[in-house]
Symmetry: C2
Subunit: 308 residues, 2 copies
């Protein structure tokens, strides 16, 4: 059994690579839900959906989110009505959110609904929302208010400076029903190349998860989402810098050191391997940029063989 | 000022007729919200929307509900996912529900959102939800459970027998902010040819409304939705019978007598005019079947001149 901690696009590609190497029924992804939002009354789970659409081969390859061949009838009408349209929702994608919202209203848990949706999309891995309870990533803008993650990421195009990040949990927020078992039972726990702060961070904010991960440290292999001092996609590098971390593989190693045994970095950062190891984290150097499915599978092979 | 009590299709046509005779800014419609439902997390107000789409000239003329030229991308995808699809929602129509739901979540009242939507659709009359608070029509099936109105009307195709109707209101349910003034100020109060039980009934279930109507009895003119012992559309006749009312203009007169001064009936029922008046309600006979906009305008003229 392989268990992976997953955010959105980078995690989806990494999981695609693992699927080329490991049978689907041996892979469990524990997925970030800190990005989730309710908009138009619809419960939207961006990371769960990006992983699902990608593994179903249905993702829009141009954007990395949403569905290929999507239409935008609802959004076009909503724009004419003067509604909220900064979070773009395609018509087919909306059906996913309608399904999820209705099932939640009927009393199903997010874990149950996720299993139903993945089955409907023909995705064979098991995806577990890290929690079925509220978990919300909130960012304090520099000299500004605190905003929800998607407000920052999509509405503000993540191009405003941030001074702090906070993960809002409720008093009853705990890991989803199978999460701790997945973390305990995975032969290997893979930390996908997702944003350490806003994708992996919320997973660690769920009470019980950090302890479960710390107990597996030797078997945890993380892939750095930072290559040559920059994030491949999204705001990881700038966010890390704004929050006082060094936007490099060394910064990632320092951030992950309490619970990650091995960090996989790109050949472009080979010169920093010693500095990574100086943080107390084993370092494996390989090609980490998943430009093609073949390269994603190659990275997966490296990760599967990376444990100390 | 003309104030109308309105349900769905029949009311929409009657209001279209009134609009041909009276400036839009002199017409207020108090609209039933007992049919409202939350599905997929979306707040759907079928009667408010049927009136809006009809008066905007955007209604689907074949069905009498939904928008003309509609597409069904979301529903098609939702069907593939195994979601709830018995309540068919077109893509453009969904935008209306997304807009309403988001604005309600932002704290706007249903009255405010309705004004925004009617303005966006270019509809000049003032439409007032009878209440901004919960109001739900529930039907007890014969030898069966109690179900929500749309469950009966759409999911069960209103072809199951009903033993009772109930209008669920909350402890804080009262008329919308402008409703009582509209009932007091209307020179004439028109009861559109809507289902007396399930369209006009919920309006009467809002505390304060029956008293306000009773005070205006001489100025209230109702149009019978029953013609020649049958409803023109929907389950009015059978429902009336199942609930112990006579499915005829006489039954309508008896039901409305406490607060309606004048009942307008179709020429097909001219022979029952005396029986209507025996219920203590003035009777006016005219053509009431609004097969064309011209006939709707003709009916409106008759209604405007019908007071005693």
């Amino acid at each position: 059994m392989i268990t992976a901690l997953a955010g959105g696009v980078g995690a989806a590609r990494m999981l695609g690579g693992l699927l080329a190497e490991v049978p689907a029924d041996r892979i469990t992804a524990v997925v970030n839900t800190g990005d989730d939002l309710v908009l138009h009354g619809l419960h939207i789970s961006p990371d769960l959906d990006t992983v699902m659409y990608t593994l179903a081969g249905a993702i829009n390859p141009d954007t990395g989110w949403g569905l290929a061949g999507e239409s935008w009838r609802v959004m076009e009408s909503l724009r004419r009505l003067g509604g909220v349209t900064w979070f773009n929702l395609g018509d087919q994608d909306l059906a996913t959110h309608c399904y999820r919202t209705q099932r939640l209203a009927e009393g199903a848990s997010l874990t149950e609904v996720t299993a139903e949706l993945y089955a409907a999309f023909g995705v064979g891995i098991r995806a577990l929302p890290v929690t079925d309870r509220p978990l919300r990533t909130r960012l304090r803008l520099l000299d500004g208010p605190e905003v929800a993650f998607q407000e920052y990421f999509v509405h503000l195009h993540h191009d405003v400076p941030v001074s702090a990040v906070r993960f809002e949990v409720g008093p009853d927020t705990g890991p989803g029903p199978a999460v701790l078992d997945a973390l305990a039972d995975g032969e290997l726990v893979v930390v996908c190349p997702s944003n350490p702060v806003v994708s992996i961070g919320p997973i660690l904010a769920v009470p019980g998860v950090p302890e479960a991960l710390a107990a597996r440290r030797p078997d945890i292999v993380a892939v750095s989402p930072i290559v040559a001092g920059a994030a491949l996609k999204g705001p990881a590098d700038r966010l890390l810098a704004e929050l006082g971390f060094e936007p490099s593989v060394v910064g990632v190693a320092r951030w992950y050191a309490p619970w990650v045994g091995t960090l996989v970095i790109d050949r472009a950062d080979a010169g920093l391997a010693a500095a990574v190891e100086a943080e107390g984290v084993r370092c494996v150097v390989t090609d980490t940029v998943m430009a093609t499915p073949e390269r994603a599978a190659g990275l997966a092979r490296a990760v599967l063989g990376a444990r100390g």
